[in-house]
Amino acid sequence: MQKKAGPFFYVFLALFVFFVMFPFLWVLLSSIKPLGELFGDKAFDWFTSHPTLKSYVSVFVNYPFLRYLWNSTVVATVTTVYTVFVAAFAAYAIARLEFKGKTVILGLVLAVSMFPQIATISPIYMFVKKFGLTNSYLGLIIPYTTFALPLSIWLLVTFFRKIPFDLEEAAKMDGATPMQTYFKIIFPLAVPGVFTTSILVFIAAWNEFLFALTINTAEKYKTVPVGIAMFQGQYTIPWGEISAATVIVTIPLVIMVLLFQRRIVSGLTSGSVKE
């Protein structure tokens, strides 16, 4: 249904974009307000006449925010690399090879991806505690497998299925072993899919909250979402710092989304649409 868009449409679009972006916009504007203008009469003014970067400085000076960023980066990167690696083999087999029980396995993967985290948290918590892994990177990477691995397999299977079978047949005719076929033919073609999967898994691991909240409680090992959420003290909430921190974590996301939006959308919709 390719219709021409009229002027009303663009007005609607502008409104829509404004509504979606409003919270960020407001937080951005608040992050450069001096502390005094966050409360009281001036709290509802859109623009401050005394913009300041004090909140940004405070985030790094008064909170171990850099440490949080580093922790999140390490945990999310390692989780992504290792789960996508393991998942790539499984997904290749499910998408390309003939063997019994494939549908059951895929069903299991899908079922596991729907598990509520709360249902696995107590045994996982006891496990990491027993092995002294609380407050460590491994203590998060292991539990993150529960959602990252099924997600990777599910996405990669749909990507692998899109690669034409003829290529594989041709390789087989020429006497290539399945392993050769995988590394020389399938993998290069699957790189975009693997990349997309990695982005989505990375975002999921970066955003995870419950495991990070319960397992890594020491300041030194907190991840960004938990770290920011714990900015709020018992009686006061440092809105200036929270706004600045929110902006800091959102900007890389915005850049990533702008760069990879096509891929992210194809990843998000790949499991749900039959083409």
Binding site: F44, A93, S272
Partner: protein
Amino acid sequence: MRNEKRMERLLGYSLVAPAMLLILAIAIWPVIQSFYYSLFDYRLNDPTKSSIHWSYSLDLEGYLQNYPFLKSALKQEMAAADGQTKQTLAQIEQKLAKLDAAIRSNDQVAKQYDKVNEVLDNFETPSDELKIAELDKQTAERLTVTVHDVVETLKEMKKAGELQQADKVVGLAEGLEGVVIEPNFVGLKHYKDSFSDMRLWKALWNTTFFTVVSVAIELVLGLGIALLINKAFFGRGLVRATILIPWAIPTAVSALMWKFLYDGQNGIVAKYFETIGLVDRMGDLLTTEAGAMFAVIFADVWKTTPYMALLLLAGLQTIPSSLYEAASIDGATKWQQFTKITLPLLKSSILVALLFRTLDAFRVFDLIYVLTGGGPANSTETISILAYKVMFSQTNFGAGSALAVIVFLCVAVISMIYIRWLGKDLLSDGSSVKR
């Protein structure tokens, strides 16, 4: 040819195996264990319940740190006392000695007993495995009853002033009270308790209400947006990026952002809501029950409607435009086209999107934990939040695990209903493996 097939099958299984083993070990096994935990009175803050016990056992460390000293203290008291007091003390000493012999009558226990003694003599701490000895039910009960009697008797003697070092003797005897570890298997008691607790029903109701309302709004809005932007226009990429940002930002961070916008004194959204009359006073948004639920749903709709719209847009784009052309030639109205073409062809996309969203909403945690913490007065407490609180604030892993299992079962039932609707669509090969 047959050989080749076998090779392929073997390769298939071996490629899938590592992933499957990981999933079994890190996702499926914990769920089974959660169920197992839920059958026990399992509390992390209570040393006698901080692990799972099927049978009675004895904490040898606690026992040996008290019994030998109590024995010698009693002997000292006996030497200093006379008459009735001396006799009572002798009886106590004898009773305890008999018990000690009964404990040591088991060879395995006797061995552990001596080892723990040795370790304690060296001023070291025995390992958990070493210090916990199994005890038969009879001895365990005898030990509990005897120790209780001894403590009572000694306390009376203390009151009567018959003891020289009363505090020490009573203290040592009391030290023996916690050494018997009772089996903490409680069967389905946690489930029974949970289901008779109004708090669970409230949490279930909150979860269901949140899920149904937010998913319904998201579906309607998402479908509307998808239909509107399903056309060629300038700035598509920008709109798509805009749509993705709420989805990509960590839920905890967006929850905090909304908390700022909803703030009763300085929140801009709260102020606008007051201005347009959505709430009576700004402060009502996070401090009244209805206001808090509305605030949570609104934040969730903001975050996930774009995602819903994306899924539906992808579905819309697979509908061939020729169908609409044919329909308009036949004189079908826009509404007829929507109900007769769009909806039926979009059905599986809608169901898949609904499935994912319903399950996500049902297990909601981060958003509510950060935005309202379940308050005010538990009005936004969902079942995941309740389970978390019981497990980690009350450190009651047994009861908390029971709640976690209830969440799991609910999610399982919801998925089954959807999958029945969806049929096998979800798992079948998109490009079919028929060669």
